[in-house]
Symmetry: C2
Subunit: 251 residues, 2 copies
DNA sequence: TCCGTTAACTTGTACATACAAGTGCCGTTT
DNA sequence: AAACGGCACTTGTATGTACAAGTTAACGGA
């Protein structure tokens, strides 16, 4: 149930039509009602209806038009932002038990790479966390995260073996709204070998992630290395719309 | 120069304002003119101005509002769809010379995996291409692509050592509008070792890609394996907008 | 000098009207 | 039977109006 405050009509229209499409009620290719028909159905003006339709068109949920009624598009790949950003929440979404073993949480001077990413001076203190993440009790990922100090200091009052740092920080009012992820493959080395129990040189899927506030202020920079075969990143792009991004388990 | 047909005013407004933001004329945080001021400047009605602003807001190029003027947002990460989809075009965009050595192009029955992805029956014929892709004459990636037969047959009249299959197909009217990419890490094996000159078991970055028409008809399914350190996939997501996706070289 | 209130400015929501441009169907003519 | 033209329906573009809701600045009073 959303807030008790009534939503604007154009928003309610958008939500109702989106539900009809994503639920399959209007399957792909179904010709949706005309603007005039929608005006009558929702007792709305044409401008309000068109505003809702414009949103759906932007999301790729309706396609076509000009002289003929648009049709329902393919429901786009999607995943809640927080499910993508939090390993704990992602694991729960696929019905698996996440876990964490913290090897280290320390305040130390930022390396040049970390400093560059967080927009601070090299040598300025950051809070660094090294954790092994598990999935159904099996090693899944090594997480090396650096937090800007004013956020990271909150973690000294948090049991990092108890669950999601992402959720803890959000519940303490930290604005984690933007992510930039760089994905590549690396050879296992150092703590990877020790924590994940793999051979040196074994392939790992690496996600380097900068998380920022809505205003663009860097909050954390992380280097996460996954055992292959456990998680994939799937992206859907089209020539007209921005991409959709989801994290998926390997079948 | 776009088409000689004049663009709608709301589109010209959108383009002009987008340019002011992405060019840095209005840097991040800059308070943009009020709607009334924009109406005067462009001799447009408030509805038309608001339509343009709505588009920019959807792209994250302006943020804030309600009672105060919005501010310019961070210019979003972006890359032309075709630059992302075509290795040849991508290489050109970073000033590097792409190359290709075709090891095989054959018509053969689809494997169950390929058939499932292309939406055909296992055993139906597809056209398979195995190519080594080079960057500045160095091995960069092994490309294993399967095409639905009616598209793949075009390739028998194309010198696959001459350049971009993606561009060739588009120039022959093949609609390649949608991509779904799954990224993970794998260990080098078989042709990988032979073609890329790496040790068996070495880490490779794998991109499995299904390319479809705008209508969703599968066209090609590819398994591309990259030497690490040559290309990354960078994705930007926010809690409010769909993700942006770019392919970037490793520094 | 500070605080509260009011007014002016802003964006957000919703409606109405008019015409341009595209599509499809039906009727008529060849 | 096919083709063409016209009409009705559709969406796209653009304008205007009115009021709600949010923000900020200025002024007056304590």
């Amino acid at each position: 149930m959303s807030t008790s405050q009534p939503q604007p009509l154009h928003q309610r229209l958008t939500d109702e039509l989106r539900t009809r499409i994503t639920s399959g009620l209007w399957s792909e290719g179904f010709r949706i009602p005309s603007e005039a028909e929608l005006c009558r159905e929702f007792e709305a003006s044409r401008g309000t209806v068109r505003q809702a339709l414009s949103t759906l068109r932007t999301e790729g949920l309706i396609v076509g038009g000009q002289g003929k009624q648009p049709v329902a598009g393919r429901a786009a790949l999607s995943q809640p932002f927080t499910t993508f950003m939090s390993f704990t929440e992602w694991a729960g979404s696929i019905g698996k038990t996440p876990g964490q073993q913290t090897r280290e949480i320390a305040r130390r001077p930022a390396s040049p790479e970390v400093a560059a990413q967080l927009g601070i001076k090299a040598g300025e203190p950051v809070v660094e966390v090294l954790r092994l993440r598990l999935l159904e009790n099996a090693p899944a990922m090594v997480e090396r995260t650096s937090f800007v100090l004013h956020v990271g200091r909150l973690l000294f009052d948090f049991d990092t073996d108890s669950g999601s740092i992402f959720s803890f920080l959000k519940s303490h009012g930290v604005d984690l709204s933007r992510g930039r992820h760089t994905i590549d493959a690396v050879a296992a080395e150092g703590h990877d070998v020790e924590l994940l129990g793999v051979e040196p040189g074994a392939p790992l899927l690496r996600e380097r992630r900068l998380t920022s506030s809505a205003a663009g202020e860097p909050i954390e920079y992380s280097d996460d290395r996954y055992i292959p075969g456990l998680t994939n990143f799937t992206i859907e792009n089209t020539s007209e719309h921005r991409a959709n991004l989801v994290r998926v388990p390997t079948a």
